[in-house]
Symmetry: C2
Subunit: 333 residues, 2 copies
C-alpha cells in the first residue's frame, strides 16, 4: 500500500518543471522519466533542466510514445497544452500505456463540454487499460470550482453560486503578466482578445463542472472578456504599465437556467490588483461566504494539486474523471 | 441512474427531524420510514412529528430492526447518539439489512480512533452486505476537518494545520445553549465538564481525520476544555447569563508529532460570541488562510451534509468510509 508512485513528467514548462521538482521532494513518489520536445530540454539530463547541480540520471525524452511504452511507471503528470482536442493523442497514448494521468490541460477539467465524442473515446480507453485520468490545477480545478462545490456540501439548497478570483499578475511570472495583456493599449488588447490570444482558458469548464456537480442543466453558458485599465502607473519586476494602458484582464462566465443567472464566475488577473483573493458565495439555505486571503497562488498550487491527485487516481475506479468523482483532494506526502 | 434514493430516518431529535424534512423536499430522495423510540414519537404519523399539517402515511416505528428489515429502502440517515460503541449495534443492523448509512454519530467520523476492533467489524459487515457507511456532520465532519483537508489539496507541503470555529451559541437552539454550560457558575461548569456532561464530542476525531488524511502519524493527541466567562450580562431568546457566569465552552485538540504541534483545533461555543466564523490556516508552502464568515450554521449544515453524502455512499466502494475516501461533498438535488 505504501508503494511509491512512479511518475513521468510530460511537459517541462514552468508548471511541469515545478511539478517534477515536487515529485522529487515527496517521499510517496519517484520520478522515473520526463518528456519535452523543446530543443533546449530534449536529450538533457533532467537535473540540469530543473536547475539542480547534480545529474538525476533521467534524460529528457522527446519521443513521448517511446518513453511511455518503455519506462516502468504508474502515472503521468501532463502539462503540454490547454486544448483537449490538441492534447487528445497524448492522453490516449498515456491511457494505452496503462498509466494514470493528472493533466493541467484546462479543457480537460470537463472535456465533455467542448469535445463530448473525444471524452467518450478517452473514457473507453481508460476503462480498457484500467487507468484513471483527471484534468486539474488551481484554476480551473480548485479555486473557482472544487472549492465552491465542497462548500455546498453543507447546503440544504443552492440557489446560485458566485466565485470571484482576483490575481495580482504583477507577482506572477513574466509570461503570465504578458498573457493577461499588461502594457498593451486597449485596441491591442481587443485585437488579441478577438484572436483568443489573451484569455484565461477554462472558465467555462469551471462553470460547467460546478453546474454538473450540483446536478444542474444549464440553458446557456456565456463568457465575456474585457481589459482592466491601469488607473496609475504600475511597475512590476518585469514591466511598467502606463496609466490608461491595459493592466490585465477581467473575465466572466455566466450560467443561465430558466433565464436566471445561477452560476457566476469572475476572474480578475491584472498587475497591481489590490486584495488578491479567492471568494465564493453560495446563495441558498444557508447563505455561505468564504474567502481565501491572497488567493491560492497558481505557480505553487497547480503543481501541488497535480501531484496530490495522483494517489486519488490510483485508488479510483478506472475512467476519465472529473474533480467531483475522485476522493477528497488533500496534500500527500 | 436517476432513481430516487429511498431513505429511512433513524432518530428524530432536532437534527434527525431536520434531515427528514430535507429528504422530503429533495427530488432525488424519497422518505420511506422513520424510527424513534421516544414515546412522544413512536406510533405517530411522521407528518405530525415534523409539524406538517397533513399525514405523510409514515408511522414512526420504535422497532428499528423490524422496520429496517421490512421496508424497501436504500439508505439510512442515523442520528441517535455520539458514542460509536453506543450505536454500534444499530449501525451493524443497518449494514446487515443491506442499507447505506450516513450517521451524525460524532465518534463515527473516525471510528478506528476509539474503537479499532468495532470499526474493523463494521467494515467487514459493510463489505459482506455491499453497503457504504460514513460518519459526518458540520462538526465533526466539515468545518474543522474536511474543509481544512480540501484546502491542502493545493499545498506542496503542509507543516501545520490550525482550525478555529467560533459559534455564537445564543443563536442556536436552547438545548445547545444549555449543553455549552451557559448560565452556570464556574464551579458547576468544571463539575459537569469532569463528568463529560459539557463538551463537544468529536474534536479529537476531527484532528485524527486531518492527520490521517495528510498521511501523518501523531505521537500524541491532547484535548482540553475550559469555560468562557461572560464579560457582561448576555441575554438570548431562552436565557440570561450574568456577568462572570459561564457563557460557554472553549475546547482545544492538539496533535503532536516529534514534539511539535502539527494540528491545532480550537472550538469556541458560547452565547454572545462576536464574529462567529470557521477559519483554517495552513502553515506550509504556500501558506493559506481561509475564512467562512459567520461559520457553517450547525442546525442547517449537519442535516444538509448527512443527506448530501448519500449519493456519494451509493456510488462508493462498499465499506466503512471516512470523509476522505468518498467523492467530493456537494449539494444534491
Amino acid at each position: 500500500v505504501n508503494k511509491r508512485i512512479r511518475v513521468i513528467q510530460f511537459g517541462l514548462g514552468a508548471i511541469g518543471r515545478s511539478a517534477a521538482k515536487l515529485v522529487l521532494e515527496k517521499e510517496g513518489f519517484e520520478l522515473v522519466g520526463a518528456i519535452d520536445q523543446a530543443p533546449q530540454f530534449a536529450g538533457q539530463d533532467l537535473g540540469r533542466v530543473l536547475g539542480y547541480g547534480p545529474a538525476l540520471g533521467i534524460t529528457v525524452s522527446k519521443d513521448a510514445e517511446d518513453l511511455i511504452g518503455r519506462v516502468n511507471a504508474d502515472a503521468v503528470i501532463h502539462c503540454t497544452g490547454s486544448s483537449f482536442a490538441g492534447v487528445f493523442d497524448q492522453l490516449a497514448a498515456i491511457a494505452r500505456a496503462g498509466l494514470h494521468c493528472a493533466s493541467s490541460c484546462e479543457e480537460a477539467l470537463f472535456p465533455a463540454y467542448r469535445e463530448p465524442d473525444l471524452a467518450v473515446q478517452l473514457d473507453k480507453l481508460c476503462l480498457a487499460h484500467n487507468v484513471a485520468m483527471v484534468g486539474t490545477g488551481v484554476n480551473p480545478g480548485f479555486a473557482m470550482d472544487t472549492l465552491a462545490l465542497v462548500l455546498t456540501g453543507v447546503s440544504q439548497r443552492v440557489d446560485a453560486v458566485r466565485a470571484l478570483r482576483v490575481v495580482d499578475a504583477g507577482t506572477r511570472r513574466e509570461a503570465l503578466q504578458r498573457k493577461v495583456g499588461a502594457g498593451l493599449t486597449e485596441a491591442e488588447f481587443h485585437a488579441l482578445a478577438a484572436q483568443q490570444k489573451i484569455r484565461h482558458v477554462g472558465l467555462s469548464e469551471s462553470l460547467v463542472l460546478v453546474a454538473n456537480g450540483l446536478g444542474w442543466d444549464l440553458d446557456e453558458v456565456d463568457e465575456t472578456i474585457a481589459p482592466v485599465l491601469a488607473d496609475r502607473q504600475i511597475k512590476t519586476d518585469c514591466l511598467t504599465v502606463a496609466r490608461g494602458r491595459v493592466a490585465g484582464v477581467r473575465q466572466f462566465a455566466r450560467g443561465l437556467q430558466g433565464g436566471r443567472e445561477v452560476v457566476t464566475l469572475e476572474l480578475q488577473m491584472y498587475v497591481g490588483a489590490s486584495h488578491p483573493r479567492d471568494h465564493v458565495e453560495i446563495e441558498g439555505h444557508p447563505p455561505l461566504r468564504l474567502t481565501l486571503d491572497g488567493g491560492a497562488p497558481g505557480d505553487i498550487a497547480t503543481p501541488a494539486i497535480l501531484v496530490n491527485m495522483l494517489p486519488r487516481l490510483a485508488e479510483a475506479r478506472p475512467g476519465l474523471h472529473t474533480m467531483t468523482s475522485l476522493a477528497l483532494p488533500r496534500c500527500c506526502r
